[in-house]
Point group: C2
Chain length 763, copies 2
């Protein structure tokens, strides 16, 4: 890794004087638990008197439920309760934000347990609690459901056809804010219109036009969803689950079960990956419902891998058409695009953010982009790392590559020419403040990889850039000082990628103490203030900021205590590197901590933040591939990911985020796809058939961290987790074109696809 | 109960305008869990891979350990680890405060596992962890310990003899602050000297002199001690136990095992009574040691009832000699007293507080009291409700009764004459501020009980008063506001007597909302600021105060938010009864809570307090008894307890505290005592032979709450839990004298004792 090399650019130096903690690589506080297997994940929970729940799922992609008979199941010895959609209240439409997207809680309830219709293969129809998992399974088999099978809608263009069967019969399109006249499968139509595209294309000397298709793909987290609930006779509900956001679970369950949030306590367990997929609730409300109906005993539910693939939220497959023009200097003049995103069974595809990400790195005066959120008989989509970005950027970056080729320009040079700079207006209307896109292009051009010769036959090099908005959101933290000078830190952010440590480091830096003296602790919803989930690349940014605020509040109180001891005014005391001083007098924080009793007792502080500016992130990737013309197999020879990370709090984690994002992007680009049969049954419901990249599929991924400090954060932090998944598909498509001369216009670019394309070339 | 009658005296009215929440009796938040058996106590814990620990205890009261051979025990299949004193570091002397007393951590370590000597029957010598409790027990039997048995020292006067065998051979007396020349069994000699007792007795016309003896007694909590520990390879230690103070456990374990507090997390489970006995640690450090030695698996340990009686801390037996004089007007002129308190095997008897409590209710100009903390071969004593007070007050109140009889004065009138008032100096030197002793005497005289005729033969009525300092100490609380306007409250005080609710009520009162909108939650040592244990009658007083401070901090932030929304200055906004208003505009807290997002995100606040003034408590009790001259059995006909409670936050709990204190005082007075054989073996190690009062032994105990608001608390709260155990023994002794004419000078006043006394009268 070349983090040290580029770990502190002049820019971040100028911002960052001399950090003591930030930029170091301490031992993570949860390390031992994780490597010894002691860490408790959702499925590890065991409660006295615990029952086991199981879910009956629809075998049909689209069907009307004529009747459900649970009487036989209820008689099975050991069965404690059976619930169906009838046990859930029908909610009003209520759209609320959830983990980088929005969710309509009426639909969320319907997705929890089907009502009159099932809308996708795997849609929950009923649930059972029993004294053993096996009895629960047995009981499922005895629930009799009569279906009227309906024609499934599986393809996004077909779903938009006026005569297409309707999934939600009373759903009207939000047509640019206006309710459509008649219902359809189109949940929403968004539009970005900037400048005048007609004029823009008139001034263009070169225009390229192309259409792209991408498949529905899964986040591929290792740990399946789970949820355990204990419903108390006094109406108090406790939920243990692995989720990206304990407060989000509390809010959703509160709505679905119509319980005030103050009656619900959500205890977040350790989480085995989420990537956006663990923001919505699936089992939690069912477990709660079953616990209540089972006489207030705890009920534990866990998904199988096939449940996860069939019935949780993947990200949208899409159809994208782009027309892009540039003038004689190679300057982009106009873009016109249509984007159809699969929402799945209920509204909520990330087409909106896809529209923004697509040409996020480029300066284009004239923009007309239409985005459609379209229902199909597939699981309701959820966020997936930079939601909607990868497929959009794939299409855009191929177009950019086509243009740079036409102009005979180096693709990075072409991007430098057209890339956004500070103060430029983005293609989605916002104006960029301090950004580091050009710095990533510069670093990429200078990188040895970019000038290294390509020796092998059928090998090629591709580049692509990517953009992500990043996000701020609400975060809380509180801390109390121990008599030995150490600090207990409670924060509400679930730790997925090591955020316990990256947040603790910001508290330690703020206090001027060692991070080993901070003990971070992820609190449940009763023990810390409201904190949004771990998504939107927001955790180290926003919760870290809250920790910084806590450090400042602690210092203020500590200085007052020191002033008491020395009988001076607080203003006279200076605090630096964990030490207080006035004139000759000096006292360390540890000394003072031991004297808190004499000065008024213990000290604790809490803070909540809600940053408005997020510090957008940009990345530029370089990849070399070799394509086997016989098999169509793509081998990645070398991969370099350059990214503006603002300020790397914990460089190892940042590099890990970049490498992980690339790995997922590679899988999306080359192999991953949901395969449905004509009846809408998912046919690849295991990790052998749903092909994610393994170590053998990937080279060492080199990372270059450019640090263009974010002025909107006390330590210059930018979100880093999502940008790296945006460029890989485009970079690979461009590299494949360089290698074998075919531009693939659909994902995944699997061996079969490539062979077909090579064949088509020949003919 | 007559709480409503006397629930708001003019005094508290003047202090208390119109409380909305305080003084009401809402449903307690932990009620359902407690009555449905769902509440998790220490013994309910179950962890994956949990091992079971057992303790080998000394069969001798005093012996030298010549050798310990654990080799056989270690070979038993299923045994995971064996520990002895050799596994603990030898600590330096370090005396620190602990739950209404002090503890020398060097001795605490020695009490955890014996070193060269065992000092009492039941002293831990070794501990074992195994895969089942039975295997652990079996292994204990295979540990071979060779003892050199020494002569036990069981009686406090004998222990002071120069030639008495020494328990701790290198212990020197703290002789009024000076280290004694040669070691002895006397740990400390304290003295109170005020005025000139010789002159005082010269001015006296009546002098009474008497000596008293009392036995060691147990707190009698229902739940035995327990402790479960999980030691992590990274040095993090988690302890689950039922304790009165999670931070106290953290501090003691930190010292005994020499681990920084920041590495230890103590999770307090629900607790089945403590009364002072659950401040010291017994099993917790052993469980931690065993967990580490067992390969970092969790180890659970629980005590049997006989373990509890033989080896945890009861309160001191004592010898007390008093000489008391009064002048011709019946005014007390001088007191001279000697008090010998059994410390048990290690220093730390409550003789110091006994010295203060003894004549706490009385104004005496000339005082000379000598107190001695004396080692005997019995378990190391611990705090017990108003530590050292009951036996001291018993002696004093009998003397007061003798004097009032000699002056032919009504005993309450005599107390009114000599009782302390605001501004008086106490017999321990401090000056009383606003106290309510005279108010209790007035209420007692007016109470119908006091004027009711005594019909039965051999029946009599006795009165006695009692004093307790009460305590403040460190408390922390924090709270976050939920979007629905409810509040999640985290506090560090273990809930023994309903303090979740009494603390939540003070937050609710401060915020002007319903207590049902507050969700209190007892945090572990990582999730809340430092909070001293639930002792010293401090919890509702100090932690309630912290909750009040939190409410004020929340209001400040809320007003700022309302100001943002209305675009006015915060000062212009008034807040009352959960509503904000400015001119015509009004907004409820719930409305505003829903708008926090628009105004800057969530709100949380935390506060820590450390009150310096505590608001001392006084009580006066009236009891009628009937004595059976044939059997010596005492039957309590009627009991009325009058107490100044400052302000009753939750009247039911206050009444419960008073009734509970009386019940324990009755047991101490009439039946309870540790019975040792000549070799120092405890012979009554179960609750049949250790005779605590049961429902049949007690009448309904009537309570009268006088409310003399404590000006040193935002709501006028005084501690109420301890005073009520102080007067019963004296009141009963005085009633028995009225009934059958004998003044008993030792506790318990059991049937045998009474028959002997009656016989002695006859001879």
């Amino acid at each position: 890794m070349s983090a040290e090399k580029t770990g502190d650019s002049t820019l971040s130096k100028e911002h960052n004087p001399t950090y003591q903690v930030i930029g170091t690589r301490p031992i993570r506080q949860d390390g031992t638990d994780k490597v010894t297997g002691r860490a408790q994940f959702g499925a590890d929970i065991h409660l006295p008197g615990m029952l086991f729940g199981a879910v009956l799922r629809s075998p049909h992609a689209h069907a009307r439920i004529l009747s459900i008979d649970t009487s036989q199941a209820e008689t099975v010895p050991g069965v404690r309760a059976v619930v169906t959609g009838a046990d859930l209240a029908d909610l009003e439409d209520k759209v609320t934000e959830l983990g980088e997207g929005t969710i309509n809680l009426r639909h969320q309830s319907w997705n929890t347990l089907a009502r009159q219709k099932v809308l996708y293969y795997g849609h929950p129809v009923a649930a059972v609690s029993a004294s053993s998992p096996h009895i629960a399974e047995e009981a499922l088999a005895l629930i009799e459901v009569t279906y009227e099978v309906l024609e499934p809608v599986l393809e996004v263009c077909a779903a938009m056809h006026p005569n297409a069967p309707l999934l939600i019969e009373d759903m009207y399109t939000d047509e640019l804010g206006q309710k459509s006249e008649k219902p359809s499968n189109v949940a929403a139509h968004y539009q970005t219109r900037i400048g005048d595209v007609e004029k823009g294309f008139e001034s263009a000397t070169v225009i390229v036009e192309k259409e792209f298709r991408t498949s529905m793909v899964h986040q591929g987290y290792i740990e399946p969803q789970n949820g355990t609930a204990l419903y108390n006779p006094d109406g108090q509900l406790t939920i243990w689950c692995s989720t990206q956001g304990s407060f989000g679970v509390r809010d959703q369950v509160s709505e679905i079960l119509q319980i005030p949030v103050s009656k619900i306590k959500v205890v977040p367990m350790e989480i085995g990956g989420g990537f956006g997929g663990k923001n919505p609730v699936y089992l939690e409300p069912l477990a709660a419902l079953l616990s209540k109906k089972s006489g207030y005993q705890p009920v534990k539910m866990t998904m199988s891998r096939s449940d996860v693939l069939a019935a949780t939220g993947p990200t949208s497959g899409s159809y994208i058409h782009i027309k892009l023009g540039a003038d004689s200097d190679g300057k982009l003049t106009a873009v016109e695009a249509t984007m159809l995103y699969e929402a799945g069974a209920f509204p909520g595809s990330p087409v909106g953010s896809g529209m923004g990400v697509m040409f996020g790195p480029y300066k284009i005066e004239n923009v007309l982009i239409d985005g459609y959120d379209v229902l199909v008989n597939k699981p309701r989509t959820a966020a997936y790392r930079a939601p909607g970005g990868t497929n959009a950027a794939y299409a855009a970056e191929v177009m950019i590559d086509m243009l740079s080729e036409k102009f005979g320009m180096d693709p990075l040079e072409f991007r430098q020419l057209n890339g956004v700079k500070n103060g430029d207006r983005s293609t989605f209307g916002a104006t960029y403040q301090r950004i580091g896109y050009q710095e990533t292009l510069e670093a990429a051009r200078k990188h040895p990889h970019y000038s290294a010769p390509l020796e092998k036959a059928n090998s090629g090099r591709g580049v692509a850039s990517g953009f992500w908005f990043n996000y701020g959101g609400k975060s809380s933290a509180s801390a109390s000082l121990n008599p030995d000078g150490t600090v207990s830190l409670i924060e509400g952010s679930v730790d997925i990628g090591g955020s316990r440590t990256s947040i603790a480091m910001q508290l330690a830096e703020g206090l001027g103490i060692s991070v080993d003296d901070v003990r971070p602790f992820v609190g449940d919803t009763d023990s810390v203030g409201y904190t949004e989930g771990t998504y939107g690349s927001r955790t180290t940014f926003a919760t870290g900021w809250a920790a910084y605020e806590v450090s400042q509040k602690l210092i203020k109180q500590l200085v007052e205590r020191a002033a008491k001891l020395w009988e001076v005014h607080p203003e006279e005391i200076s605090y630096q590197n964990g030490g207080f001083s006035i004139g000759e007098k000096h006292m360390s924080l540890k000394e003072l901590a031991g004297k808190l009793d004499e000065t008024g007792g213990p000290i604790m502080a809490s803070a909540t933040v809600r940053p408005g500016e997020y510090g957008p992130g940009f990345a530029t990737h370089i990849v070399d591939v070799e394509v086997d013309p016989e098999t169509g197999k793509v081998t990645i020879l070398r991969y370099t990911a350059v990214q503006d990370v603002g300020k790397a709090i914990y460089p190892d984690y940042v590099e890990g985020q970049i490498q992980g994002g690339v790995a997922q992007g590679v899988g999306w680009a080359l192999n991953e796809e949901y395969m449905y049969d004509p009846q809408g049954k998912l046919t690849n419901t295991n990790l052998l058939d749903y092909r994610m990249p393994v170590a053998l599929d990937l080279p060492m991924i080199d990372t270059v961290m450019v640090e263009v400090a974010n002025p909107g954060h006390p330590y210059g932090v930018r979100g880093v987790g999502e940008v790296p998944i945006v460029p890989p598909a485009g970079a690979l498509a461009n590299a494949i074109y360089q290698a074998v001369g075919v531009r693939l216009n659909s994902l995944p670019m699997s061996p079969g696809q490539i062979l077909e394309a090579l064949q088509a070339e020949k003919d």
